[in-house]
């Protein structure tokens, strides 16, 4: 105990040293004034002291857990809450009904602002589900996912401003354009593995933004495209309020559609090929899976959803400019997938809702939002790498290997 406190004091001292120049001193190089903010040191000291005690306790627990796993002890017979939620019809049926009701009446009872935020959150749910295919199922780390989102949004923006295309024609076109770009960009990087892939996709993400910013004639550059119409309903005139409510319902349908498709795909031939590719590329290819086709389809499929989400994003905002498509958005979608649990659909949905809605409702903390994201990403990887709700792999039931026979 005393030892613990002593170590935490040392940690606190170290962090006071570490944060001293950045937290305390603030230089105004124009007026040549130095501002000393000594009070910050106190916060750092207290904060790091407490955190280091919590950290050490959590690390001990983590070690205990991995030790148990090593010794082959069953960690817990009881399945986790998330899993129970999914598997026990007694629990999930009422939950589902309540959820459906809440979803249906939500835009009718809240004001337009909240409905609008919810639409944004749902857009990120779709983005998360899409990236979940590329990263979670196929294991292809994509740090430039936002590029496909931009492709979708700009497909609608450009088609509308040049040719007057409506929302409903642009929606599938946006998705297809996204998929097309997924394939085009996927081609050169087929042979690359993990880390190389990460940097090249990151490069593609920034290239997309640069091209949009500088190609004035088509994309209107940094000024962006304005006056993009909201989704129409057989040409009916709608107030902003009804239009938002309408967009919300479209979004709900799209999320359901995305859930349905990704869920079905997971257990399909191509879905199993993706997972096999993620687990071991060489073994997978040796088993006769066409590597190029599988990888490209994973890219195209992930990008397809981003394209669809992009079209809706453009119509929700009625205005798009390159600043909506930065690396921050890619990182946000990636953290949604990671936090939700890679490959887990329900986890991704929950994570998207939490990550988008939380900062909106905790306005006071919105400054700290990215700081928190960063910290959460690190902590999740260390303490709960499987995500909020772990993806449960389907196994063949009823085929228990009897080990005694093997010994006899």
């Amino acid at each position: 105990m005393v030892d613990n406190i002593k170590r935490s004091l040392l940690v606190a001292l170290w962090f006071v040293f570490l944060t001293f120049p950045l937290m305390v001193v603030k230089v105004n190089t124009l007026k040549n004034i130095v501002e000393w903010r000594w009070i910050n040191m106190l916060w750092v000291a207290i904060g790091s002291f407490v955190l280091s005690i919590v950290w050490r306790w959590a690390m001990e627990r983590r070690q205990l857990k991995s030790k148990k796993a090593e010794q082959g002890e069953e960690e817990s017979v009881k399945p986790g809450f998330g899993q129970r939620l999914l598997e026990d019809p007694k629990i999930f049926k009422p939950v589902l009904i309540v959820l459906a009701l809440v979803t249906l009446v939500f835009p009718l009872v809240v004001d337009i602002y909240q409905a609008n935020i919810m639409v944004l959150a749902l857009i990120f749910v779709v983005l998360g589900l899409g990236l979940n295919v590329t990263v979670g199922l196929a294991g292809l780390l994509d740090l430039g996912y936002v590029a496909f989102f931009a492709v979708g949004a700009y497909t609608y923006g450009v088609l509308n401003s040049f040719f007057g295309f409506g929302f409903w024609i642009s929606l599938p076109l946006g998705g297809l354009m996204g998929a097309l770009f997924g394939i085009v960009l996927g081609f050169p990087i087929l042979r690359l593995r993990g880390d190389y892939l990460a940097i090249v996709t990151l490069g593609f993400g920034s290239i997309a933004k640069i091209v949009i910013e500088n190609w004035e004639e088509v994309f209107n550059g940094a000024k962006g495209i304005a006056n993009i119409p909201r989704p129409g309903f057989f040409g009916a005139e709608m107030s902003i309020h009804t239009a938002t409510t309408y967009t919300y319902y479209i979004m709900i349908l799209m999320v359901l559609f995305a859930i349905f498709i990704t869920n079905r795909l997971k257990d399909s031939r191509v879905g199993r090929a993706w997972m096999a590719l993620r687990e071991d590329e060489i073994a997978c290819v040796a088993m006769g899976v066409d590597m190029a086709r599988t990888k490209l389809s994973a890219y195209a499929f992930g990008a397809f959803w981003a394209g669809l989400a992009g079209v809706i994003f453009a119509s929700r905002n009625t205005y798009i400019n390159p600043n909506s498509f930065t690396f921050m958005e890619s990182a946000l979608v990636l953290s949604i997938v990671v936090m939700g649990g890679m490959g887990s659909i329900i986890g991704v949905i929950i994570a998207a809702l939490v990550l988008i809605l939380m900062p909106e409702y905790l306005r006071a903390f919105s400054e700290y939002r990215m700081l928190m994201f960063g910290a959460v990403m690190v902590l999740m990887m260390i303490f709960r790498p499987e995500g909020l709700i772990a993806n449960v792999r389907r196994k063949y039931a009823g085929r228990k290997v009897v080990t005694e026979d093997a010994n006899a």
């Binding site: 170290w14 040293f17 570490l18 944060t19 120049p21 950045l22 937290m23 001193v25 603030k26 230089v27 105004n28 190089t29 124009l30 040549n32 004034i33 130095v34 910050n40 690390m59 983590r62 294991g139 780390l141 740090l143 050169p188 990087i189 042979r191 690359l192 993990g194 880390d195 990460a198 940097i199 090249v200 990151l202 490069g203 593609f204 920034s206 290239i207 640069i210 091209v211 910013e213 500088n214 060489i282 073994a283 690396f327 990182a331 990636l334 953290s335 890679m342 400054e367 700290y368 990215m370 700081l371 994201f373 960063g374 910290a375 959460v376 990403m377 690190v378 990887m381 260390i382 790498p385």
Partner: protein, 300 residues
């Protein structure tokens, strides 16, 4: 011809800076196969610490070269401390985790450090004092290569030679090479692998901080976001040269810097990043292991 020389000099300067940062990436990657995404942030923190120190010293009446040396020294110490702490918090617990985990943790750390500096200091660009003095003997060719450029290129070259000596001839260098070849075996023959990895992060951070101070003084302004792009570029350089390969990182950085400078000068400065990544993609298509990297056969 003069224009060409000007561009070459600017490309050389960029390349030297990229090389300083890229070495940190490549060393860490060589040893633990991790893209230390937060490495660019260490460079940014180095620049900020140098700015703060030089600001304080200017106000308290220090002058000229003493500010440069003190600011650089303190920046280097702090960057090393940050690099060490970073590894200990974000990467050490994930030593045996799947490949994707430390990478995501690194992205998280990068976001965290960026926003930490943003909140602790300011989101605006800060004016960075020109710390590098003007030399008289550079006067005749100042329009092609001025004193700051010369200092940057020379400092980078000296740091790289220093690094090479360190890795080739010292005890810790030997331990680093051993760990790079086979971590388990190095442990078996008594190398303290954890210390070696910490040391790698510290050395990489020191180089990055040197780059940060030089760049701040050269460009004249910094903000919390400079680390991101510099980090991406430097990593691109490291990949270009064959990641894990130290001379490769330097070569890749020079190729990248010159490409960018020529592309910006002859074609369009708005598209220089496009060319940088374009070169990367091209080289990776035709030589997936980089310019100097050895193709690694994966064993099953």
């Amino acid at each position: 011809m003069e224009y060409f020389l000007e561009l070459s000099s600017s490309g050389l300067v960029r390349g030297s800076i990229y090389a300083l940062i890229a070495l940190g990436y490549t060393m860490v990657y060589g040893i633990i196969q991790l893209i230390n995404f937060a490495h660019g942030e260490i460079y940014m923190i180095g620049a900020f610490v140098a700015l703060i120190v030089s600001g304080v010293l200017t106000i308290y009446g220090f002058s000229g070269i003493s500010i440069l040396i003190l600011a650089a020294l303190i920046a280097v110490i702090y960057a090393a401390a940050y690099g060490y702490t970073l590894e200990k918090i974000a990467y050490r617990p994930l030593r045996n985790a799947p490949r994707l985990s430390p990478l995501i943790s690194a992205i998280g750390m990068s976001l965290f450090l960026q926003n930490y500096v943003l909140l602790a200091q300011t989101p605006d660009f800060l004016r960075f004092p020109a710390l590098i003095p003007d030399f008289e003997f550079m006067e005749p060719i100042a329009h092609i290569m001025g004193s700051p450029e010369l200092v940057i290129v020379v400092t980078s070259a000296v740091s790289m030679v220093g690094l090479t000596v360190l890795i080739k001839y010292t005890r810790i260098g030997k331990a680093m090479r051993a760990t790079q070849q086979d971590m388990t075996m190095a442990r078996l023959v008594g190398v303290n692998v954890d210390n070696v990895i910490s040391m790698t992060f510290i050395i990489g951070s020191v180089l990055a901080a040197i780059g940060g101070v030089l760049v701040g003084s050269y460009i004249g302004q910094i903000n919390f976001y400079i680390g991101f792009m510099a980090g991406v570029k430097a990593f691109t350089a490291a990949v270009l040269g064959g990641i894990g390969n130290i001379p490769g990182a330097v070569l890749g950085a020079l190729v990248l810097g010159l490409t960018e400078a020529y592309a910006a000068g002859y074609i369009s400065s708005a598209y220089e990043d496009v060319f940088a990544f374009g070169v990367l993609v091209l080289i990776l298509i035709f030589r997936p292991s980089g310019l100097l990297g050895k193709a690694v056969k994966q064993k099953v």
